[in-house]
Amino acid sequence: MISAIITIFAPIFGGFVYGIERIVRARMQSRMGPPLFQPFYDFFKLMDKRAIMIHSFHALMGIMYFIAEWFALAVLLLGNDLLIAVFFHVIAVLALVIGASSVRSSYSVLGALRELMHMISYEPMMVLMVVSFYLVVGSFDIKDVLHYSGYPILHLPLVFFAFLLTIPMLLQKSPFDIAEAHQEIVGGPEIEYSGPFYEALYTGKWIEYIYVFTFVFLFGGSHYWLGAILVIFSFLFVNLLDNSSARLDFRRMVKFAWAVLIPLAALNVILLALI
């Protein structure tokens, strides 16, 4: 029941998370920051802009991204297979990539290529994480994870740590905000979207927040208070990291993901399998 509500109102919750994040970020930079409802103001404003399409396929792919993203979340929350949720997320990002590379703007094309690099970096990590959950809980089903009476985080400390460092890649945050890179490619894949179509991307991001933090929540097992603490901790950690690092090169990101994060997670999985 709760998960159904969260799924349906995911854009709204995501918006709040994003609103809080903007305030937190501003405070970390000793600024006042925007009001909490700012993302929604942006949302309604974009609604009202004149819609300009590059071509219909491009616009369609933007909307596809939003829908697939929402679908991935629905699959995740409504008690289906974790692995399927991960693959739906892949589809969502692929829609974005295909849309972005279908236009002439070189920023958009570069952004699409970089987005692919992101996928190469974080998707194996996601799969590994799901596998590690399976090894702990013995099931791919989210319900079983949420009813697991142990503490998954105790079995998966390295996986949690690796996932913590993967979140910036998923959410486009410094040091891994490479596909968005405002100062380099002006938003990358999203550059050619405007008005209501940009909105699809803008809100898609919010859903991604919920999607990512649900995974963090899972590390608490059936102890929801632990899950909540982990979510708050990782939220703060990611934002602090965002505010204390420069953007790295995509080569470094891929190397970091494959040389550090994935081995760490794999080590944890191997240890689990052995014990």
């Binding site: 006042m32 920051g33 700012q38 103001y41 309604f44 404003k45 609604m47 002006v186 979207y193 008005g195």
Partner: protein, 163 residues
Amino acid sequence: MGFFSKFRKKSPWILHYNTGGCNGCDIEILATLAPKYDIERFGALNRGNPKQADILLVTGPVTKNCRDVLRRLYLEMPEPKVVVAMGACGHGGGVFRHLYNVENGVDNIIPVDVWIPGCAPNPRALIDGIVEAINIWEKKSKDKEYMKNHSKDMIKNLGVNDD
């Protein structure tokens, strides 16, 4: 759409283009992004992307070499939009009035809604200007004036060929 118009007041996204002024105004734009004046309080973001911008903030007297870029940026921005000309340069060219490579102000190239006086206007003046621009913007979107306005004629008046 009346419902949505209420909210545009709170989310002006800015596109900034310098058309040949002295940097002075651009420095002040950076200063308003900085913690002391923090223009994000009004929901304003510097997006750097004409397709997602609402307010075009132009500094400088518009040199002949910048003219076409400025026109293109203006046309790329979706309606409704507001143009703010910052500094004395934007109004009649300021100290560069009547120099040979200067168009004497933004108004000669694209329609301007707000002029901010000063050379350079300090961040307070810029904030005043943005607030004024937001009011005009809201009025514009209520009137739906842009719906009539955005015709082939207007594009022709601006003298741009379709690229």
